[in-house]
């Protein structure tokens, strides 16, 4: 009966209750959706860090990560590789030789980390090959020459291998893609002009198009003007085992695009045989072994086992290499909970206010209830249930709306390309696919019910302080 009265009391003043419920709904939706978007960004970042850049565990000599000394080769590589392969949870192992050097073209140069890799094995272990930009070649295919390099888009830009040119064909393509002929015509003064960066191209067409046209067609123009000549070459130069300057021209077999500008700018991949030949390193020696695990969750369990098994070497998992990501991954739920507690605390003020008004309006009725024998516990319970109903209805509505919107945007994605430069500088994707775990909704439900209970305390105390005689006299 108390539950039934409390529920009916919620709807006595529909407008007021609906206003509070709407506030809770919007508050919960906004915060859940924001968290889902942030979560997706972090999940995508971790996923790409592990699957494209780091894998789960890396092993090298203790000084190699800081010194990058070409002589920092792993002793007894066969034995180390064997230990790695035989450790439960490890599914795949590969070795790399890594040298620091300079990548250059006639137009520019940049410091890079040159990774000599077993191209076939790395394709099994990493998904970087999927990040190949269409039209830029391929990931070390069977027909790829030995002196080939797979480089990042950021590096390609720095070396001016990628340019932005609006050729006569580009104008035809733009019209075919839906750009009005009149708009394409406005861009004619840019025909044949080579822009070394996307920013310079944007600045140029911004002077020719209206703001509305830039917003609508800017991305298409940039995509169409993106130009790369297949088979371009870069010079990679570095020190060999004898400390002599060496290097060679490498033909770019393909360009990859990730969400991590730093990785794109730094990491060059070449077949290890070619790098061995140039550096004078023997077959079978490596600077780094990389181990892939069955599941991400095994990382914390397998790492100490390998650290014990390989005492003379530096064994680091992805969390230790990317400390910032690991911290976020470990504390993400606590961060979300704190965020939600703050949002719900703000919403609770609205609920307290509504409940207080409800109590003050029902002074006489509460006096009557006390007079006819409704004890303090039941009166408290009734007020508390009303408050919980308000928060739970709003909270569930907010969660339902969030679930729907997250479901849709999780499928379609949210395009933050406008902020891609900033996001990708920190390794985060400009395309978000919001996602949040079911366990978060369980925590949220508990928090919402708690909000309802805590919001009821002050109004309920007011109700309990009423003297029935005075309350019955009151208007």
């Amino acid at each position: 009966m108390i539950t039934s009265i409390a529920w009916k009391n919620v709807w006595r003043n529909r407008t007021r209750s609906l206003t509070v419920i709407a506030a809770v709904t919007v508050g919960v939706f906004a915060s859940v959706f924001a968290l889902a978007a942030i979560n997706s960004s972090i999940v995508q970042r971790i996923d790409s860090a592990v699957s494209e850049e780091l894998s789960h565990i890396q092993v090298n000599t203790k000084e190699f990560r800081s010194s990058s000394d070409i002589h920092g080769i792993i002793p007894e590589p066969e034995k180390v590789a064997g230990i790695l392969r035989n450790t439960p949870g490890v599914t795949d192992v590969t070795g790399r030789i890594i040298v620091r050097g300079i990548a250059s073209t006639p137009a520019g140069s940049a410091g890079v980390e040159i990774n000599g890799i077993d191209t076939a094995r790395e394709k099994e272990m990493f998904t970087l090959y999927r990040k190949l930009i269409p039209g830029t070649g391929s990931y070390f295919g069977a027909d790829t020459r030995l002196n080939s390099a797979f480089i990042g888009e950021k590096l390609a830009r720095e070396l001016y291998i990628i340019r932005y040119i609006l050729s006569p064909e580009s104008f035809t393509a733009l019209v075919e893609k839906g750009v009005p002929a009149a708009v394409a015509e406005k861009l004619k003064p840019l025909e044949g002009v080579r822009f070394t960066t996307e920013k310079k191209l944007t600045e140029a067409y911004s002077g020719l198009l209206s703001a509305k046209e830039i917003k609508k067609y800017g991305l298409l123009v940039r995509e169409t003007a993106w130009s790369y000549r297949e088979g371009s070459r870069i010079i990679l130069s570095f020190l060999d085992m004898n400390g002599n300057q060496t290097g060679a021209a490498f033909r770019i077999c393909g360009i990859y695009r990730t969400n991590n500008d730093f990785f794109e700018a730094m990491s060059v991949f070449v077949p290890d045989a070619e790098l061995r030949k140039l550096t004078g390193m023997e077959d079978g020696v490596y600077h780094r072994f990389i181990a892939k695990l069955e599941e991400d969750d095994l990382t914390d369990r397998v790492t100490p086992v390998l650290k014990e098994a390989l005492p003379g070497l530096e064994v680091m998992n992805w969390k230790e290499i990317q400390v910032d990501l690991a911290m976020i991954a470990d504390y993400i739920n606590q961060i979300y909970a704190i965020f939600m507690v703050l949002i719900l605390a703000a919403l609770s003020f609205g609920i307290v206010n509504t409940m207080l008004m409800a109590v003050l309006e029902r002074t006489r009725e509460l006096g009557m209830l006390s007079a006819v024998g409704m004890n303090r516990r039941r009166i408290f319970m009734m007020i508390m249930l009303e408050s919980v109903f308000l928060s739970v209805v709003g909270g569930f509505a907010g969660m339902a709306v969030s679930g729907i919107v997250i479901g849709i945007t999780g499928h379609t994605g949210i395009n933050l390309v406008k902020y891609s430069e900033g996001l990708e500088a920190f390794g985060y994707s400009a395309h978000l696919y919001p996602t949040i775990g079911a366990d978060f909704f369980i925590i949220l439900t508990v928090l919402i019910v708690l909000t309802g209970i805590l919001s009821a305390i002050y109004p309920a105390r007011k109700a309990l302080q009423l003297n029935p005689v005075e309350a019955l006299r009151g208007e």
């Binding site: 009725e365 007079a371 006819v372 024998g373 019955l472």
Partner: protein, 231 residues
């Protein structure tokens, strides 16, 4: 058999610097089956006396015994239970729960007392029949006239079979016809169920029906007359 015994009861209120003696040395007793009214001018202490009898307020001095309970010895939580078990209240402004139907209002105290559902429904039906509202089970208070609401209030007060009913100005907000109907019902219940009714009122119509008229002035009983009226 005495249902209520009031022995030399005083009730004093302290209103800022003024001391108001609302009830002053009242000694009274009410028998089972009484149909009594407490009358007197405004401020004479009628409602205060009713509140003291009903355990809503505590006397400053003296003692009140209801159904063997010495009210001054009960803790606040025990007083709430006492009211639920032994006293039926009818208020001047009905005080029904607006979100409940007539039947739910009548069954409310029984549900607090955890009556079995079947018994509660049966008793509710019986009482709504008795007050002439058998066709208004599902009506909300806002859908009932003042007289009908007060009849529901009477049925609610009677539902848990209390020792007596305290009715504070029950006809004050009713038109003549509604007041007469309500009084007819209460008289009938008094006669048939031997339910004790104690009213406070200004209403001559109620006084005319009463078998006992107690007059208060300045908190004191100035007369206690048993009339010849038989219901």
């Amino acid at each position: 058999m005495k249902v209520v015994e009031i022995n030399d009861v005083y009730k004093t209120y302290h209103d800022t610097e003024v001391e108001v003696r609302a009830v002053s040395g009242v000694t009274l007793g009410f028998e089972k089956g009484d149909f009594a009214v407490i009358v007197g001018p405004s401020g004479s202490g009628k409602t205060t006396l009713l509140n003291l009898i009903g355990g809503l307020d505590q006397p400053t001095a003296g003692e009140i015994l209801v159904a063997g309970h010495r009210l001054s010895e009960l803790k606040p939580s025990e007083l709430i239970d006492f009211r639920m078990e032994h006293v039926g209240f009818v208020f001047q402004s009905y005080n029904l729960i607006p979100v409940l139907t007539a039947a739910e209002n009548v069954g409310f105290i029984m549900s607090l007392q955890k009556w079995p559902k079947e018994k509660r429904i049966a008793r509710t039906g019986e009482l709504l029949d008795a007050v002439g509202l058998s066709d208004r089970h599902n009506s909300r208070p806002s859908q009932l006239s003042g007289g009908q609401q007060q009849r529901v209030a009477v049925a609610r007060a009677l539902a848990p079979r209390p020792e007596f009913i305290l009715a504070d100005e029950p006809t004050a907000n009713l038109d003549s016809k509604s007041a007469e109907t309500l009084l007819d019902i209460m008289e009938k219940l008094n006669r048939e169920e031997e339910m004790t009714f104690i009213f406070s009122t200004h209403d001559v119509r109620v006084m005319k029906r009463a078998r006992r008229v107690i007059t208060l002035e300045d908190g004191k009983v100035v007369s206690d007359v048993r009339t010849n009226h038989t219901s």
